[in-house]
């Protein structure tokens, strides 16, 4: 098999709030021999107020990046961020579906876009192109005994006609990857429930309720950690865990990982590359417990 290689769109949160997601994604892909070619001079995906007021503008923001990727000669763009994914995919699908729309978008662009590349999440290609088996082969530090719940969030698989990946109600891609890394994945019934992110600023009380429910259920199932694939979800569950605790009078101390971090860990990547120090809830007790519980059992 030839080496897997894709155009790569990091997205803005990877430069800030979810730096560790970005770091760990790159480290993981390198370790898995997947070539991520960063789109030169990439710009905002349009996951701003743009898409709420002007579809053409929003598509042009995404379209510029797709055009740049096409110029690289790549036919598939990856991004770790579900929001970027939604916008890039939406723009691509809309333009492929309507020449008229494409023309409107092209008017806004310096370089009109021609061929429209595919857009996928890093998770999708890990699951589909490489496969859990491919991950398992490279695991050197299995996550034995680590009980996790996988939390996909609301937009990674939705709407299904746009995302064309995994089940929108009961996704399993992250589950399989975590299992491949040796973790025990608990049957989490709230995989795609809303964490409240979209109301994060205006209605904090909702976030407390919704994220709290997720943490409660994870705790109840006996999870050692939550695994996510979305910067916003991760932020709500991790950064706001303290707030949730005080609002709901709970005392959760659940580390909330990006799946890339845990996979990287299992592949034996150095901590520095995984950005574990960026997590708010200390992950180390959970990570240290790996292997031990099993020995005890």
């Amino acid at each position: 098999m030839s080496k897997l290689s894709y155009a790569y769109y990091p997205g803005c949160s990877g430069q800030g709030t979810s730096m560790e997601y970005e770091m760990s994604t790159r480290a993981l892909c390198e370790a898995l021999d997947i070539d991520l070619k960063e789109i030169p001079d990439w710009s905002c995906c349009g996951s701003t107020p743009a898409h709420a007021c002007d579809h053409v503008l929003s598509a042009a923001l995404s379209g510029r990046n797709l055009g740049l990727a096409a110029d690289m000669g790549e036919d598939c763009v990856l991004t770790p961020c579900p929001s970027c994914l939604t916008n890039l995919k939406n723009a691509g699908q809309h333009m492929s579906g309507s020449e008229e729309f494409k023309e409107k978008v092209n008017k806004l662009l310096d370089e009109p876009i021609g061929e429209i590349p595919d857009v996928k999440s890093v998770l999708q290609i890990l699951f589909e192109d490489l496969g859990p088996k491919g991950v398992k082969e490279k695991v050197i530090k299995p996550l034995s005994g680590l009980k996790v719940v996988t939390y996909y969030g609301c937009i990674l698989t939705r709407p299904p006609k746009l995302m064309e990946f995994d089940s929108e109600e009961n996704p399993i891609s992250m589950d399989r990857l975590m299992e491949a890394a040796g973790a025990k994945v608990l049957p989490f019934p709230l995989k795609t429930e809303c964490c409240g992110a979209s109301h994060g600023v205006a209605r904090k009380d909702l976030v407390m309720k919704l994220s709290g429910k997720l943490l409660d259920m994870a705790e109840q199932l006996g999870a050692d950690a939550v695994v996510t694939a979305c910067p916003l979800c991760q932020m709500n569950l991790d950064l706001r865990q303290g707030q949730v605790n005080s609002a709901n009078k709970t005392s959760h101390k659940l580390p909330v990982f990006y799946y890339t971090q845990l996979l990287g860990w299992a592949l034996g990547l150095p901590q520095a590359q995984l950005g574990l120090d960026k997590l708010c809830v200390n992950p180390m007790p959970a990570l240290r417990g790996i292997g031990k519980k099993e020995d005890a059992a």
Partner: protein
């Protein structure tokens, strides 16, 4: 030839968007048309009389009616011609309603197109020959496929009328879905008490031959003379000897076999008798679960059988039956609801189907009629019913309403209260559809007398709360809020879909089926139990979801159709068959090779090989005519020259 053209207004159905007078005037210019008129309703009595008068007055010898589809009224007008003393086949129709007036509003274009259609009908008619049907004998036996309540009704009605009936049932017992039900709505009477005696009658009726655990393998022939191959699947039990005592079932050590009769609610034995009232009450072995058949060990059943009926060597058997008519009554199956991941996709044991719940309620079911949660065997106190699971849902490809779920949900809510008086029932519904006699009253009783809480809205999610209960979250569209109900048991009112392998059976029967696999009736209103294939009729839910009274009604209707068919002395074949011009035939045999009906024989004429059509076997498809390179085989009324004339007429201007 003198051709009369009658252009029908069909009230305003045609006249509304077609200028029928102009069409009639234009028709008068067509070759050999000597009379043309527009008429209000050609098919009405005055309309038909008008045609007859015109035939007599103008000495017409051919008629074109421009009106609706020939699939509807061609037989009507042929009879009109016959009454006027003409050969009924000197007739053609131009479909200016379904194909013109109803599909566009451009009056000019429609009028123009209508005239074109009349023109091709005239050109075809000019080349028609008077035809006379051939008569042939009827085999007065009927095949009923499926032994559910519709099939049972049809079989008994036919048998009572003196016909010999062959019934083929896929499962080891007849009774179908109704046999699995505990009670029936809206009377709440015991399902097996009303169905049981009818099943016994099937077994005992001297005119009925029952093949249970059997399937239709192939069907050939044509109305009046079908030949049917029935595959009797191996049961490994000699049913002639089996007394149904059940000793073998008791002693069978293979206890993880599926029990389809109980909807897989509990495991069954490899050797099994579905239920105490089974007809025939005989044991059968599920080979893939039998220790003897898979591993050549055990053989307990053979050891304990008092009548020595077990035969591990048994093989499938093919039986040929000859019948004159066929009633398909293959019923329905439940939609595979596990595509609903939001309801757990089958991962939560306490989410069950309505039919599973029915088995739980039934005294003959695996719980002996006690409602118990599959997960822990506890009696549920809060039961949530979710309606329209696999009905009225485009996203799962089932946009239709299954019709009976509203009613059985109400029934199950009532029975829940009867079984567990301190229980609460919640029903999530979209609309209540209860249009039958006493139906709406029944659903009201569920709400008002039995206190079932009806919540109008779809359920978005069911998930375990981690503490042994299920959270059911849905919308309450009347309140405009989201609601969450904690439930001990969730019952899904799963919709009906066509029985599995329906399309395959339809193909064997050469009948049509719709996009969902339900069999197509001859006409949605006027021929609800007929099909497009003469001699094949439909009864029950195989045609579309139906409740018990409707299925029984259709069973009787189908039986009446067969009895009517068989009441004729002889049947007449459609004379629009193929014909060989032996002067032109070179005897290459390509027609005989491709004929789907074996209706072409190769014979010899003056030492030369020639093809010959068996007129009563020929079904008139015309494949031979399209196959013969020199055009020596022609299909009467669809000859090359007729089709060429139609093409030519359409292209001439």
């Amino acid at each position: 030839m003198k051709i009369g053209v009658f252009v029908c207004h069909c009230g305003s159905n045609i006249e509304g968007t077609v200028d029928t007078k102009t069409v009639a005037e234009a028709s008068l210019d067509f070759p050999e048309v000597t009379f043309a008129t527009d008429t209000m309703y050609a098919c009405s009595e005055p309309g038909q009389d008008g045609i007859i008068e015109a035939i007599e007055e103008h000495k017409l010898d051919g008629v074109v009616v421009a009106s609706c589809t020939p699939r509807m009224h061609e037989p009507t007008f042929r009879k009109t011609l016959e009454r006027a003393g003409l050969n009924p086949y000197m007739f053609e129709m131009a479909n200016i309603r379904e194909h013109v007036s109803w599909i566009g509003k451009d009056r000019e274009a429609n009028t123009n197109k209508a005239a074109d259609l009349v023109r091709i009908a005239v050109e075809k008619l000019r080349r028609n020959q008077p035809l006379t049907p051939k008569e042939f004998d009827i085999n007065r036996r009927v095949l009923v496929i499926g032994g559910g309540v519709a099939g049972i009704q049809a079989a008994l009605d036919c048998a009572e009328a003196g016909l010999e009936v062959v019934m083929v049932e896929r499962e080891s017992t007849i009774g179908g879905k109704m046999a699995k039900l505990d009670k029936t709505f809206p009377t709440v009477d015991c399902s097996s008490c009303i169905l049981g005696p009818r099943m016994v009658e099937i077994a005992q009726h001297p005119n009925i031959t029952l093949y249970a655990y059997s399937e239709v393998e192939s069907v050939s022939g044509y109305v009046g003379n079908f030949e049917v191959q029935v595959k009797k699947k191996a049961t490994y039990v000699d049913w002639a000897k089996c007394t149904g005592c059940g000793e073998c079932v008791e002693k069978c050590p293979s206890r993880k076999a599926p029990d389809p009769f109980n909807e897989l609610l509990a495991p069954g034995r490899a050797i099994n008798i579905p239920f105490p009232q089974a007809i025939p009450k005989k044991a059968y072995i599920q080979a893939e679960h039998c220790i003897k058949l898979t591993k050549d060990k055990c053989g307990n059943c053979a050891k304990v059988c008092p009548s020595d009926a077990i035969n591990f060597e048994a093989k499938d058997e093919i039986i040929t039956e000859e019948v004159g008519g066929i009633i398909a009554a293959t019923g329905y199956d439940l939609f595979d609801w596990t595509v609903y991941e939001e309801y757990g996709g089958g991962r939560y044991p306490d989410v069950v189907t309505s039919l599973q719940y029915e088995r739980m309620l039934s005294a003959s079911g695996p719980t002996g009629g006690h409602v118990k949660r599959p997960s822990d065997g506890k009696e549920p106190k809060k039961v949530v019913f979710i309606q329209c699971v696999g009905s009225r849902d485009k996203s799962v490809g089932r946009p239709y309403c299954s019709g009976f779920c509203c009613m059985y949900t109400a029934k199950q809510a009532i029975l829940t209260k009867d079984h567990i008086p301190d229980s609460e029932s919640y029903v999530f519904y979209m609309d209540i559809r209860a249009p039958g006699k006493l139906y709406d009253e029944f659903t009201r009783r569920a709400m008002e007398e039995y206190g079932a809480q009806y919540i109008r809205g779809r359920v978005g999610m069911v998930y375990p709360d981690g503490e042994g209960q299920l959270v059911v979250r849905g919308a309450d569209t009347l309140m405009g809020t989201q609601v969450e109900v904690k439930a001990d048991l969730v019952v899904l009112a799963v919709g009906a879909e066509a029985a599995k392998n329906s399309p395959q059976l339809a193909e064997k029967l050469r009948i049509s089926y719709d996009a969902y696999g339900f069999f197509m009736e001859g006409h949605p209103k006027l021929k609800p139990v007929e099909t497009n294939t003469a001699g094949v009729y439909l009864a029950g839910a195989c045609q579309g979801a139906k409740d018990i009274p409707a299925s029984v009604g259709q069973g009787s209707a189908a039986a009446a159709k067969v009895i009517g068919l068989f009441s004729k002395e002889k049947l007449k074949s459609d004379p629009q068959t193929a014909l060989v011009d032996i002067k032109r035939c070179i005897g290459c045999g390509k027609c005989a090779e491709t004929c789907p009906f074996g209706a072409i024989n190769m014979t010899e004429f003056r030492g030369q090989p020639k093809a010959e059509v068996l007129e009563t076997v020929c079904q008139g498809c015309g494949l031979c005519a399209a196959t013969c390179p020199q055009g020596a085989v022609q299909l009467k009324h669809f000859t090359d020259n007729q089709i060429l004339a139609e093409v030519e007429a359409l292209c001439r201007f």
